[in-house]
């Protein structure tokens, strides 16, 4: 008489769009070590900055909303309802976020990084916050939904997977009544796909729709065919729209907005990258080309020349690069969720391989990208990094 077989627990794996799926797309092996293996980065620059900027904007909005609601109830107009905010107010928010991150063991590593982050946070609140905060209907909305597991039965851990994310939601109500000088509204109106619906809504004040917003603590990626980062972020926001539309009391999502915060205060490295895109590669893959004085400023600059002062770009151009509109419709949403289905299928296949005894490097694909590999903590034992076996002290 044979024994039963030990059954696997029924677990629907839960994937965060940012923490899991986008990380996997960057490099599956790094994802395995850092995300699934919980190994922290030795240089958590991006991690710190991303969490810092999210934390600051989130807290800034909360405080603005509190004063706004108080004002609506007739309790006087708080100082935060007027932009620009005082440096004291912003610093208080920044310090509370820095302290909170430090308590979680996420620490900025150098002064220069902190200073740049503070400047970006200042600019974000006073430039973006001014236009965005009045339009937000709900902040930090948690999105969760299930999809069928894109693998044949018996080859994955379960027949579904759960997918999650967090967005801010703007509704038609606020957009319909927004001032025409609102930059967010202007950016939406500049997109032909969004414009007609938005115009009709503003005229009729009836049609209900939503816009979802996500912040990115980075520069606007190029459309370089070797680097699909922007495309992946667009898939992400399309998938957020899919999740949002599954929630009761939601309205059809008309567009997504990706806010690339670094564009407001670009670093030397950011400007150098822009220079390479526009001048060296002649704008072949630049997502948004500069014109006029901005183009001239770049042309007159040489980042390789010692002492050459980085160009100052106009606020208009910087804002245009910051606010990236992603039109949303059934086709684009369908395509994007399928892409993430594919990612989940790869991850689940790798997990299965590992549980069958295959080692990490045979189970998880790696992606070679010179920039990412150079800073990857695992490059000295990764066969695609180009630096396998060659760690240099220190």
């Amino acid at each position: 008489m044979t024994l039963s077989t030990r059954s696997e627990p029924y677990i629907i794996p839960s994937y965060s769009l940012t923490g899991d799926l986008l990380s996997y797309l960057q490099c599956g092996r790094q994802y395995r070590y850092q995300n699934r293996g919980a190994l922290p980065p030795s240089k958590p620059v991006q991690l710190w900055f991303g969490q810092f900027i999210h934390g600051v904007l989130e807290e800034a909005y909360r405080r603005w909303r509190t004063q706004h609601d108080d004002w609506i109830e007739g309790n006087g107009m708080g100082s935060l309802l007027n932009f620009p905010w005082s440096s004291l107010d912003i610093e208080d928010i920044q310090n509370s976020v820095i302290k909170r991150l430090a308590a979680q063991g996420i620490i900025y590593r150098n002064r220069a990084m902190l200073d740049l982050a503070r400047k970006r946070a200042d600019e974000s609140i006073n430039t973006i916050g001014l236009h965005l905060f009045p339009l937000i209907d709900q902040a930090e909305v948690r999105l969760q939904g299930n999809r069928k597991m894109p693998l044949s039965p018996g080859t994955a851990r379960s027949d579904y997977y759960e997918i999650s994310g967090v967005v801010d939601v703007l509704t038609s109500f606020q957009l319909v009544s927004a001032n025409a000088s609102n930059r967010i509204l202007q950016a939406l109106m500049a997109d032909s796909g969004v414009k007609s619906t938005l115009t009709a809504a503003r005229a009729q004040s009836k049609k209900q729709f939503e816009i979802i917003v996500d912040y990115k603590g980075m520069r606007l990626p190029s459309r370089n065919p070797n680097n699909n980062t922007l495309e992946h972020y667009e898939w992400q926001i399309q998938t957020y729209a899919w999740l949002r539309n599954k929630q009761a009391n939601s309205h059809p999502v008309l567009a997504g907005i990706l806010l690339f915060i670094n564009e407001l205060v670009p670093s030397f490295g950011d400007l150098e990258d822009l220079y390479k895109e526009v001048i060296v590669h002649k704008g072949a893959n630049t997502t948004l080309l500069p014109t006029g004085l901005d183009l001239q400023a770049l042309q007159n600059w040489n980042p390789n020349k010692r002492g050459s002062k980085p160009p100052t770009l106009s606020l208009e151009y910087r804002l245009a690069r910051t606010i990236h509109i992603v039109p949303i419709n059934q086709t684009t949403v369908g395509n994007s969720v399928q892409q993430f289905d594919g990612v989940v299928a790869e991850i689940e296949t790798s997990i299965r391989k590992e549980s069958k005894g295959s080692n990490i490097s045979n189970s998880w694909r790696s992606v070679h990208n010179s920039r990412s590999c150079t800073v990857c903590d695992f490059k000295s034992f990764c066969d695609t990094s180009g630096e396998q076996g060659t760690p240099y002290a220190p």
């Binding site: 008489m1 024994l3 030990r6 030795s42 299930n146 027949d159 076996g389």
Partner: protein
Amino acid sequence: MFTLNDFLNTGLNALGKQLDVNQHRAAVAPHNESLFLVAGPGSGKTTVLTLRVLKLVFVDGIDPATILATTFTRRAAAELRSRILGWGDKIKQALGVIADNVQKGQLQNLDLNRILTGTLDSISETVLRDFRGPGMSPPVVIDEFVARGLFFRKGVLGAGASGNDSLKDYLKNLCLENRVNTPIMANLAREIRSRLIHDLVDRDSFKASQTQEVDDLFGIIDAYDNELQKQQLLDFPLLEQAFLQNLKAKTLTRFTEPLKAVLVDEYQDTNQLQEAIYFELAKIIVENEGSITVVGDDDQSLYRFRGATVELFRDFKTRLTTNVGVQPTTIYLNTNYRSTPVIVEYCATYVQHDPNYIPSRVVGKPSLRAGKSNIANSFPVLTMFRPDVDTLATDLIRFILDVVNNGRQLTTSNGQMNIKIDPSNGSIGDIALLCSTPNEYSSGGNKRLPLLIREKLQPAYEVFNPRGQDFSEITTVKRLCGLILECIDPQGTIQLDLSQRYRLPSEVIETFNTWRNTAEDFIKSNPLALGKNRHSLRDFVIAWQQRQPQQSGSTWPETVSLLKLLYDLITWIPEMQEDVEGLVYLEAITRTITQSAHFSSFDAEIQHNTLYSDKSVAAAINDILMPLAAGQIEIDEDLLETAPRDRLNILSIHQAKGLEFPMVIVDVGSDFKTNHVSQKFRRYPDRPGKTHKLETTLIAHSPLGTPSRTELDRAFDDLIRQYFVAFSRPQDVLLLVGLCDPATNQPKLSIPNITLGWDRTDKSPNGHRWPIIPTNIIAL
């Protein structure tokens, strides 16, 4: 939304589920009927909880966002959530076929993902973060390692208590410890603090009952709490306390007002603080015409040492009535669908064999009965007792290999039986060995059964025993930590200085030296990194020791992250690159590094050519390597989810709770060669343990008041429960192993042991009822 009939006929049909009378009663109870479910092992409580949630949604039309379900572990939360979502989707599809237009619209708007599931800690954190009021910071919760480190540095050392011998004596008596040094004092003080919070102890009343040393104890506790407040941190006890305070202050109304149902799993492990939370929620829910459902089994309450108070479960009916004004319906889920009738009979008889245990149980609890009653030829309970542990291990391995390979023939009263794993899908992973502790060595340094099994099973098979070895003694850990030490403190001068100034425990110094020797041997073996242009480990280490950069033209920076050094060193340790277990050990070390930032200066960076270079090394040794050497780090077992299944599982009984295996071997006595006083607490206590003593002292000043059961009774109760959990893990075969009397080959019945049928009252030489069941038990 749908009728109950539609839900049962169409919905359950789609799942292929059938419920027995009691399961049915629990699942379909009205939405406003609170339930007290007493669920024995294998009785399908997760199924019942899931279906109750889905019935509330699909039949009663309750918004999933207003349902809260809590479990004891993250894993259990993931399983419950998965069932709710997976089954919910199938039911939704099935009902969609018969739905009218209105119902179709309702189904379309149904979002099961909005159900809030998790442990009480994770839910507290989520709610305090997402529903916090304006100006409130989101909670930042520290884990055990950080809490322990902060408590020691800011609590004990901060209060200047390390040299306080009278406080140590006080704690020695309070906690029945033989010896209290400073680290033990820190652990005891921390445990007392946790209990003060969890048991809702009136601190003034407690202080008044104690000698003056209690003021020094509170000095430590207050110093730690002040530090947490200063850094705006919460540890787990404070997190739950904050949640309760906010509930009572009605600052979370956005969250609480809509609530319609709360379901609590493993309620037998609840403490008074958690009960208060649940009762606050229950009051609101009852006003909303909703219900609270709790599930648990008092016979499986194993967490008294973590503050669980089983009486809260046992007396739930009266307590809910008194505190919330609602009388729950009691439903007994006493049919076991997991195990064979023989095993069920064994468990049911065992748990009731000690008449003094019965009063501690839920009143009126019926016996466990077998749900698989129509299984023909179920295996008998097996026993294997041998004169010594080495022979036991040898024979046990032989048996296991027989079962895995060609089968083991048995002659039973029902004829010949062959025990064998499933030829198509079975593996050695279908077998588990459960021990009260899976440690490979005894405190005296002797090899225990888990280690003998591991050694004798190789090379044919590996074992899976993540807690068996001391973390600091795992080979790859020794190598990595030794290499780190050799790199940052090559001559050992800083280590020596530390040990002299701060009196590092001798065991820690010994471990450091072992690590260094292991690293030296490893370097000498010239391990090869993979890659075309691979560097040598020796050159890398020397470069670090001399602080000479390997890339020409560069200078050694002022600071280098310890994490960077660690990741570079992994280049030569393939186990920590490629193996699931190796990665888990690596994660424990990196976690120690990052979390040391809470209480360590220098942020885990090694400085060079600064005023603080040596101090940065000292901080790394003291704050990171010392806790690793002292065994203060636990691996994250959740990260082992992809570990290969074809290994023999060796677990503690606590680890095995909630799990099931086709065959389970339970060690009931391989450590008990004689009736030695030092191991009595593990088989037949003659005195209460620290947990029981502390419980008595503290609970007397809590709302619950002095416990009705004596400390010694509670010690026995806990032991009975522990082995009840062990005996109820197998599906098909239960095998008991231990030592025998060489003359008779029978188990050593002269050594009192509750697992061999001794009860606490009859202390005569024949004071046992062995075998536990009269038939269907065979000796191998």
